[in-house]
């Protein structure tokens, strides 16, 4: 049989409870069986004792009767009356003597076995003596006594010879074993007493403390019983003991089993109550334990579900210090790990996204979460514009593939130089680009960096220009650098933003680049002032520039001065 439990809780409760209940039930039934057996043993012992005592009591009384009868048999007057066959006198003497010894019956039998006198039936003589076997026993010289039925009554009879001096008759004395005797015994022992004659399958209950109906039941039940057993009577089961008191007669002692079990009933009831309480407590205990397990587990399950749904902001609270607490703790650690990984992934993703459009520094700064950088602000920056001379004409005339190839080489050459100098590549201008320094990441020497970058670019591009010339393209490279305040921030719209610098400095730098001929790096005066020690420059201005009211002082950077090596 497979029973499916929907919850661990119910399974635990059922299993635990089931086992406990099983143990309790086993214990209870074992105790009950033991108690019942024990009670039965006790009653058996009681009955055995009572029956032994009663049989002994009967023997003692019989001995007394025999002794008394022997004394009676020595009475000379009786001998004389009997020897002279004076029946009337004999009967009278018998009655007198019966009262002397307090016997219930006294009989005289002739040697041929017929009754001569009987105190119970004075007119009766000539009938056979009711217990001829006893006469034979007496004749053989043995003690002759037995329980004998005379009519419907039982008597314990003892027979002794009447010697004058040889046996001339048999004297039989007896006491009755009747309902009164049974009642006496019941009073003494508390048991039900019956006297039953059993012979040749015929059972007769002669005297008893039982009622008529029970006597009949007893009679029919006795056929089956041996020395002891159980009998079902009105009022329940009775334990019965049968003890012989004569050759064909037994005394039956019995006690209701329920009566014997009564003292134990209380105990068994208490035991049952304890067992039930135990089971109840077990139920409670099991339920509590189950809850302590299933609740944290469910909490963990809920947490796991949320994590699976993508919410890594989960911390399972399980305050237990046991294995489940351990599980919760490690679960939290795991989710924390996942959270971290997710965050890093997000960051990298964002950085990657940003890096496509921003310089690495800007991208890093932005993905680090500092979105404030993108907000508009004003700063002094150094702006560098550079582009290719004669590119337009070239682009018109050459193949598109050639143009793209050239541009690719060009960008691949100058792009890395921007990063190398940590400049912010603001935009590509087709054949050139715009870079500024000191934003978003401030640096101490923006002008120097700008100039260094420009010189490096010029040198690198010069190689390219030579190559292109060989291919037949006449191009040049010029750069313009200016320094000044600008408004910098995010411009654009949702889906496409740029980081731009707006200001005079931008225009100036652009104009300077336009003015620059192939190989020239034109810088404004503030720039030159910054980098004077670093570069060799020639003043080529003041130049009038479109958009500016007054002509601008401009310098052309020829090259870098050799720098003294760092002292070791």
């Amino acid at each position: 049989m497979a029973v499916h439990f929907r919850s661990f809780r119910s399974r635990l409760v059922v299993v635990f409870l089931g086992l406990f209940a099983l143990i309790q039930a086993t214990g209870y039934f074992a105790v009950t069986a033991f108690v019942r057996a024990s009670a039965r043993h006790t009653v058996d012992d009681e009955l055995r004792l009572a029956s032994t005592l009663f049989a002994r009591q009967l023997d003692v009384r019989t001995q007394q009767l025999v002794a008394a009868t022997r004394l009676l048999s020595g009475d000379f007057a009786l001998k004389t009356a009997v020897a002279t066959a004076d029946h009337a006198t004999t009967a009278s003497v018998l009655e007198n003597h019966r009262q002397r010894v307090d016997a219930d019956v006294l009989m005289l039998a002739a040697l041929d076995g017929h009754v001569v006198a009987d105190t119970q039936r004075p007119a009766h003589h000539g009938v056979p003596f009711p217990a001829p076997r006893l006469l034979a026993e007496a004749e053989a010289g043995r003690d002759a006594s037995d329980v004998v039925a005379i009519g419907s009554n039982l008597y314990r009879l003892a027979v002794v010879p009447l010697l004058a001096p040889e046996p001339i008759a048999w004297l039989a004395a007896g006491f009755a074993i009747d309902d009164r005797a049974a009642a006496d015994l019941r009073r003494l022992s508390g048991l039900h007493v019956s006297f039953v004659a059993r012979r040749d399958g015929d059972v007769v209950v002669h005297a008893s403390t039982l009622g008529a109906a029970d006597r009949r039941t007893l009679a029919s039940g006795l056929l089956a019983l041996g020395a002891a057993g159980l009998l079902e009577l009105d009022g329940g089961e009775h334990l019965v003991r049968i003890e012989p008191v004569g050759r064909d007669v037994v005394v039956v002692l019995q006690r209701p089993l329920a009566e014997a079990l009564a003292p134990y009933d209380r105990m068994l009831l208490i035991l049952l109550a304890v067992a039930a309480a135990g089971v109840l407590l077990a139920l409670l205990g099991a339920a509590l334990v189950a809850r302590r397990v299933s609740r944290p587990v469910l909490t963990l399950a809920r947490g796991a579900r949320r994590v699976a749904a993508g919410d890594f902001d989960v911390a399972v609270k399980v305050p237990q210090r046991d294995e489940l607490g351990e599980l919760a703790r490690t679960f939290n650690e795991m989710v924390g790990g996942l959270r971290e990984r997710e965050r890093v992934r997000d960051e990298l993703e964002r950085t990657a996204k940003l890096k496509r459009f921003f310089s690495p520094q800007l991208a890093d700064a932005l993905s680090a979460g500092d979105e404030s950088l993108l907000a508009s602000h004003r700063r002094q920056i150094t702006v560098v514009f550079c582009d290719l001379r004669g590119f337009t004409a070239f682009a018109e005339a050459a193949d598109p593939e050639e143009v793209m190839r050239l541009l690719h080489e060009y960008h691949a050459t100058i792009g890395p130089l921007v990063f190398a100098n940590e400049g912010t590549l603001e935009r590509f201008t087709g054949d050139g680009l715009m870079v500024f320094f000191n934003d978003p990441v401030p640096c101490p020497d923006p002008a120097a960096r700008a100039v260094r970058m420009a010189v490096a670019m010029r040198d690198a591009v010069a190689t390219l220009l030579a190559e292109w010339r060989r291919r037949g393209h006449a191009l040049g490279f010029g750069t313009g650098i200016a320094m000044g305040d600008a408004t910098i921030g995010r411009i654009g719209f949702e889906g496409r933003f740029d980081y731009a610098a707006i200001g005079t400095v931008t225009n100036l730098s652009a104009r300077l680049c336009q003015e620059a001929r192939d190989g020239q790096i034109l810088v404004s005066e503030p720039v030159h002032a910054e980098v004077e020690s670093l570069v060799e420059a020639k003043n080529v201005g003041p130049l009038p520039l479109r958009g500016f009211a007054r002509p601008i002082v401009v310098f052309d950077v020829l090259g870098l001065r050799p720098q003294p090596t760092e002292p070791p």
């Binding site: 020595g74 000379f76 001998k79 004389t80 020897a83 002279t84 010697l163 004058a164 001096p165 040889e166």
Partner: protein
């Protein structure tokens, strides 16, 4: 009837010899008797009687004595001819109460000591069982016979009846414990002068059921 009763088997051997050897012999005969039980053991205290044909003369009988000594009847069996007076001397130092309810002689000698003045005359044939009222074990028998010819067997089961006139007699045996049915059976016996006749009987006896005389209470004199 004889068979059914299984009593006297009648192994009678008669040796009729006519002796002319001893001049001392008169014309009287005698009978040697032997009584045994069914197992062949000799039976003592059996009375064998011979009833002669014809009438029996009735001379005055000498008296007989049934003693009481040591609280016992002595002898156990006293065969007497009918009409014999019997005295019952009490030789003990305590009294006895002798009685008998036997139909042949019903009498009583209430507690007495010494010898009663008048003897008891037993004038009816038959057995008379004697008892003492105060001593249950005391038992004695007076066997009264119609014929004067009788003998009581000794320990060896033998006895002799002498001074018998030759002729044919009826021999009978009696014993206190004889089974009653056999008492009356008679065996014819012929007595010849000079030569002793012999007769033996095998008797069936009832077991001895006398009350046991228990020993005295130790240290106490008398009883």
């Amino acid at each position: 009837m004889r068979r059914a009763l299984a009593t006297i088997l009648g192994a009678v051997t008669l040796t009729l010899l006519i002796p002319c050897l001893t001049p001392a012999q008169t014309d009287r005969g005698r009978l040697d008797v032997l009584v045994k039980d069914e197992r062949g053991k000799p039976v003592a205290d059996a009375v064998v009687s011979l009833t002669p044909p014809g009438a029996i003369a009735g001379p005055p009988r000498p008296g007989a004595v049934m003693d009481q000594q040591g609280k016992e009847f002595v002898p156990l069996v006293l065969p007497v001819a009918v009409g014999t007076p019997v005295t019952f001397p009490n030789r003990d130092n305590i009294r006895h109460h002798v009685y008998s309810f036997s139909p042949a002689k019903r009498f009583e000698l209430p507690l007495y000591i010494g010898t009663p003045a008048a003897p008891v005359v037993f004038d009816t044939p038959g057995s008379v069982v004697l008892g003492c009222n105060i001593h249950d074990w005391m038992l004695g028998y007076v066997y009264v016979l119609a014929t004067p010819y009788f003998v009581k067997t000794a320990e060896d089961g033998k006895g002799r009846i002498g001074e018998l006139a030759p002729g044919t007699y009826e021999a009978r045996v009696w014993h206190p414990r004889l089974r009653a049915e056999t008492e009356k059976t008679a065996t014819p016996v012929t007595i010849a002068a000079g030569e002793p006749g012999q007769v033996s009987f095998v008797v069936a006896l009832k077991p001895d059921r006398r009350p046991i005389r228990r020993p005295n209470y130790e240290g106490v004199q008398g009883n």
